[in-house]
Amino acid sequence: MNRPIRPSRILVHLALILYTVIALGPILLILLNAFKTRRAIFADPLGFPDARTFTTIGFDQVFAKSDFGLYFLNSLTVTVVSLGLIVLIGAMAAWALTEYRFRGNTIIGLYLAIGIMVPIRLGSVSILRMMVELNLVNTLTALILVYVAQGLPLAVLILGEFIQQIPRELRDAARCDGVSEYRIFGSIILPLIQPAIATVAVFTMVPIWNDLWFPLILSPGDGKQTITLGVQQFIGQYVTDWNAVLASLTLAIAPILVLYLLFSRYLVRGLTAGAVK
């Protein structure tokens, strides 16, 4: 099985390796420097921490000076609840839009497609006004509502594509079996689009977790900050506590990494579905 290695393959791999380095570089830099003294961070930003430069002062600072646990919980709540709602509502909408022909079907589909093209941040001012009217400023609910709106269009699109690939005869068979439409959705459609749900989860989860914009304008108040916003308190106009910033960023990466690993098995399956069959 010794196939000759073609130059084109080498090029492809070079490109992929380069991309990996670029993608992972900053994360590695954060991890490395989170465990180094301030002096070492600036003297040798690329060096590994050794016995002389190793310190956990950043982490101590984070836990001592800020309410890190609360920020973390806020972020987790917002992300998990938004994700749950996006997947649930998205799957139901996708099912309705692909399965049933009704008046306005196409219009709603197009309306959702526009949601993908127009960034939700363009509406920041109106969203803020609306939240003020609704008395939702400085609540996690405000964030969750915005993130659900932000994530739904893509979710509906991806899930709709997948649902369309499920053979019509499967649904017909279930209908002949006397299974209700809700059951068909719950017992047949949902299990079969798991890979797509994982894909949607990964694609929507990361931007929500990392978002700074909406937490900053909608719920900057005490006790409601998310982790990305919480980190900002260590970044000052004149002095930045780099140890603390890097330490909290390190901690912030962890949960998203865990969630990603959880979903990635399905993600790969989702992306390659149909190819292998």
């Binding site: 499967l170 017909d172 068979a173 209908r175 002949c176 079996d177 006397g178 299974v179 209700s180 299990p191």
Partner: protein, 368 residues
């Protein structure tokens, strides 16, 4: 058990008419096959009976009860799909039990029915497998099993054999026939394969362009096709068609001229005049043996297909008509040589210019 009747059924998708004026009665316990070329509406008709497709006009009755407004589950039907439509994430057992679970059937009863169906279909050893671990034939049997456990009055089959290989198709065909014997249920079966139709059906419904062309027992359709379409569709290889002309008419006797020969037949006495053009149909299997009163037709052999028990001789007559002759397996004939076909006047079918048989009366469908 139940009979199925369709009254003045029509279906259109927007401006396109899929089915027109379908009237049909399927008796209790009958095995009816809908056959026709692809796009003739036969699958749509089946889906309408199943309740998966609404009708535009007309009435469907199952067991004497109007079911137009009933969902599929309440029509006491079970359907077997071409792609089997097994739930990929469920085991064979769950696939069969799935529908019953929601019909609020007692657990022990579900188990009994599934195991009984598995027994009938020799699936008992496979109950814990997932569909992807099964062969095509096994999947097909699971799909049939899922239909059996529902204990339906009417079984609907939508081209169930077309995804199987040739050998398995013959086996499964026989198994379906046996199943019909055993269960005695009404079965409606859709196929485009006329061999399946001929072998399985107690009654065949030939469809074309959304219309019923003819309804009848298999041999009835074979012997007395009422129009050119049915004549050409039933029988393999298809019936030979030769152009002819009316020479003389006297009462119910008709004198025809075709391919350089002249022939006298009896006909229904429809309005035919001397000089009218007609189409003569002769089946390949009725053209080989010389016999009493047969007409000899000379021609050049274009090709010979040898199947062992028979040979198909493709020849061009002097008049330019192409015909196929089913000759004996060891017939001595070679491509390019001359061959003489013999046809018995009794075996020919005659169709008028509009394609209707002038020998077979088109009877209205019984009961209407």
């Amino acid at each position: 058990m139940a009979d199925v009747s369709l009254h003045g059924l029509a279906k259109s998708f927007g401006p396109v008419d899929i089915l027109r004026d379908i009237n049909l009665t399927v008796d209790d316990g009958e095995f009816v096959v809908f056959v026709g070329p692809s796009g003739c509406g036969k699958s749509t008709l089946l889906r309408i009976i199943a309740g998966l497709e609404p009708v535009s006009t007309g009435e469907i009755r199952i067991g004497g009860r109007r079911v137009n407004e009933l969902p599929p589950a309440d029509r006491k039907i079970a359907m077997v799909f071409q792609s089997y439509a097994l739930y990929p994430h469920m085991s064979v057992y769950k696939n069969m039990a799935f529908g019953l679970k929601f019909a609020k059937t007692d657990k022990a009863e579900v188990d009994r029915r599934v195991r009984q169906a598995a027994e009938i279909l020799k699936l008992s050893a496979l109950l814990d497998r997932k569909p992807r671990e099964l062969s095509g034939g096994q999947r097909q049997r699971v799909a049939i099993g899922r239909a059996i456990v529902r204990n339906p009055s009417v079984f609907l089959f939508d081209e169930p054999l077309s995804n199987l290989d040739a050998a398995l198709r013959v086996n499964t065909r026989i198994e379906i026939a046996k199943l019909h014997q055993e269960l005695g249920a009404t079965m409606i079966y859709v196929t485009h394969d006329q061999v399946e139709a001929m072998t399985l059906a107690s009654k065949i419904v030939v469809l074309n362009h959304g219309r019923i062309e003819q309804i009848g027992a298999p041999l009835d359709l074979y012997r007395r096709p009422c129009n050119l379409f049915v004549a050409g569709f039933i029988g393999s290889p298809r019936m030979n068609f030769i152009k002819g002309e009316v020479q003389a008419v006297s009462g119910r006797r008709l004198s025809l001229r075709f391919a350089g020969a002249e022939i006298d037949i009896e006909y229904l006495g429809t309005a035919l005049k001397v000089g009218d053009s007609v189409t003569i149909g002769v089946r390949p299997e009725h053209m080989a043996e010389p016999g009493n009163g047969t007409i000899a037709l000379d021609g050049q052999v274009d090709a010979v297909e040898r199947l062992g028990e028979a040979s198909y001789v493709y020849m061009k007559l002097e008049t330019g008509d192409d015909v196929i002759v089913r000759a004996s397996g060891d017939v001595e004939v070679a491509t390019g040589s001359r061959y003489t076909a013999h046809l018995a006047p009794k075996t020919i079918h005659v169709f008028d210019a509009s394609g209707c048989s002038i020998q077979v009366e088109v009877r209205p469908v019984e009961g209407f």
